[in-house]
């Protein structure tokens, strides 16, 4: 699995967000965790940015069953993102 890219040792974590991918999303992107900077303004801006760099991930994120969580709370709509946030994208869940 890919290690975070573009994360020089002097990086300021307060100026970035962390993106987590689960299930088939991480297979599509080739990584599970990625630091993104500068911080995109909103969730949809983050998705656009991810889609430009990882087009197959971008397609998957657009599917209706994919949920987003910011700092472990599921969010709807297009919330603003704050520096230091952890944004997780979760495809349809399948436990049991």
């Amino acid at each position: 699995r890919g290690r975070p890219i573009g994360r020089p040792p002097h990086v300021d974590h307060r100026r970035m967000i962390t993106v987590l991918l689960f299930g088939r999303l991480s297979d599509l992107a080739g990584w599970r965790e990625q630091a993104i900077e500068p911080v995109p303004l909103t969730l949809s801006a983050l998705k656009d940015q991810l889609a430009r760099r990882w087009p197959r991930l971008g397609d998957a994120l657009a599917c209706p069953g994919v949920q987003a969580a910011i700092d472990k709370a599921v969010v709807r709509g297009d919330p603003r993102l704050a520096a230091g946030a952890e944004v997780a994208f979760m495809p349809p869940m399948s436990g049991g």
Partner: protein, 147 residues
């Protein structure tokens, strides 16, 4: 008791502990999900979780079941990581005064675990690995419980 485990667990031993000394509950229902596949095949299944978040979400589902079905007790043990054919994936146990509540709670818990717990299942079949998503039936099953 809610538990995620990377290691195999034995549903019988868990049921024995769950029933022991229970003199107030007349009914204990349980469900075991087993990994299907050719004996010896390993892994047949892989379950990805999100550590504390997964545990916290399953705890919410269990609390909801306790409230809705007036349970005396509830336990969920969920295997994560890679597992072999015949191994237990999940065990749900419910204790209640009467059988109807115990059964329905077990059914509810499984429906919600299938489609609302942060777990992602990858099957390793003869055709290679494949991510599983809830079926139409799973989604319909979960909708049965909506008010």
């Amino acid at each position: 008791m809610i538990r995620l485990t990377d290691d195999p667990f034995e549903p019988g031993a868990e049921l024995a502990a769950f029933c022991a000394g229970r003199t107030r509950s007349g009914a204990v229902a349980s469900f075991v999900g087993l990994a299907r596949g050719e004996a010896g095949a390993q892994p047949v299944l892989e379950l990805e979780s999100w550590a504390e978040f997964t545990l916290a979400e399953i705890e919410k589902i269990a609390a909801e079941a306790t409230r809705r079905f007036d349970l005396h007790d509830v336990a969920v043990i969920h295997r994560v990581g890679e597992m072999a054919a015949g191994e237990a994936i999940v065990l749900v146990m419910t204790a209640a005064a009467h059988r109807r509540e115990a059964f329905e709670a077990c059914d509810f818990l499984m429906d919600y675990l299938k489609s609302r717990a942060p777990l992602w299942k990858k099957e390793h079949g003869p055709g290679g690995p494949r991510w599983v998503e809830p079926t139409e039936r799973d989604l319909a099953d979960a909708r049965r419980w909506q008010p």
